[in-house]
Symmetry: C2
Subunit: 151 residues, 2 copies
């Protein structure tokens, strides 16, 4: 005997047990947001991690690689290529850190400052879009508070 014909409309899958999970929904939301971020920054060819590095250096010039990396939760080893990439593009500089010949002090170049201005403008629009989707700044803040409890 074959399976009986149940419905003409395509039978839907049961997904509650999978989708009603915090981690799963977090992953989906994060992927979605990052894809939109990448689309918005396609012209600048800037990835999320790179943007955060530029902002952090701009707000904290002269800090060592390790300090910047640690705050972003990036391993020292993986941070090297990231910094090298931004340096090769002429956006940041590694300078000798005063008082520690091992360390590299990171600075934005003049080009980097100009570049970051453009990036910040795009990011502001992007964040405004996220806030609009969430339904207002209060909801955004509520989300950030909830996310913090998971870290």
């Amino acid at each position: 005997m074959t399976a009986p014909l149940i419905s003409q409309t395509e039978p839907e899958l049961r997904t509650e047990a999978t989708t009603d999970i915090v981690g799963y929904r977090l992953r989906r939301a994060q992927l979605s947001v990052f894809q939109r971020f990448n689309a918005a920054f396609e012209m600048l060819n800037l990835r999320p991690a790179e943007y955060s590095v530029l902002v952090l250096i701009a707000d904290n010039p002269g800090r060592k690689q390790t300090e910047i990396a640690e705050i972003l939760g990036i391993k020292r080893a993986n941070f090297v290529a990231l910094v090298t990439g931004l340096e090769t593009r002429g956006l940041i500089e590694r300078q000798a850190a005063p008082g520690d010949r091992r360390a590299n002090a990171l600075y934005l170049t003049a080009d980097g400052v100009k570049f970051l201005d453009e990036a910040r403008a795009i990011q502001d629009r992007f964040e405004a879009d996220c806030i609009a989707r969430l339904g207002g700044v209060e909801r955004r803040d509520a989300l950030l508070r909830l996310l913090d409890t998971l870290c």
Copy 2:
């Protein structure tokens, strides 16, 4: 002249421009949750994606690979290795799909059912921990609603 001594306590970095961003906080929270998930499932050697595949097959036996993959947002191409891995471990089976000799219908094996029972128990405890961190089921539901608006 050298930089003046400002403070004995280590000077803190300015991070607002980076951390007050939805995408960034999403990424951090998702990474943190997945790391705890992986720790909880270390004994079962089960990754988040694998768990969701098992649950989805259990709740929708006989579905084609493409159907399961699409719901999880996994590309067909990348889903092959995932299915093969679970099949090699004896947890699921690829069976001939009735009426379509191209497609593979996916089923849990008896071992897969037993295995998923254990996994579900762990996941239930894990989700309870997430809810506790968030401050209750209402907050968890609020988070899920907010996350949905970002997809």
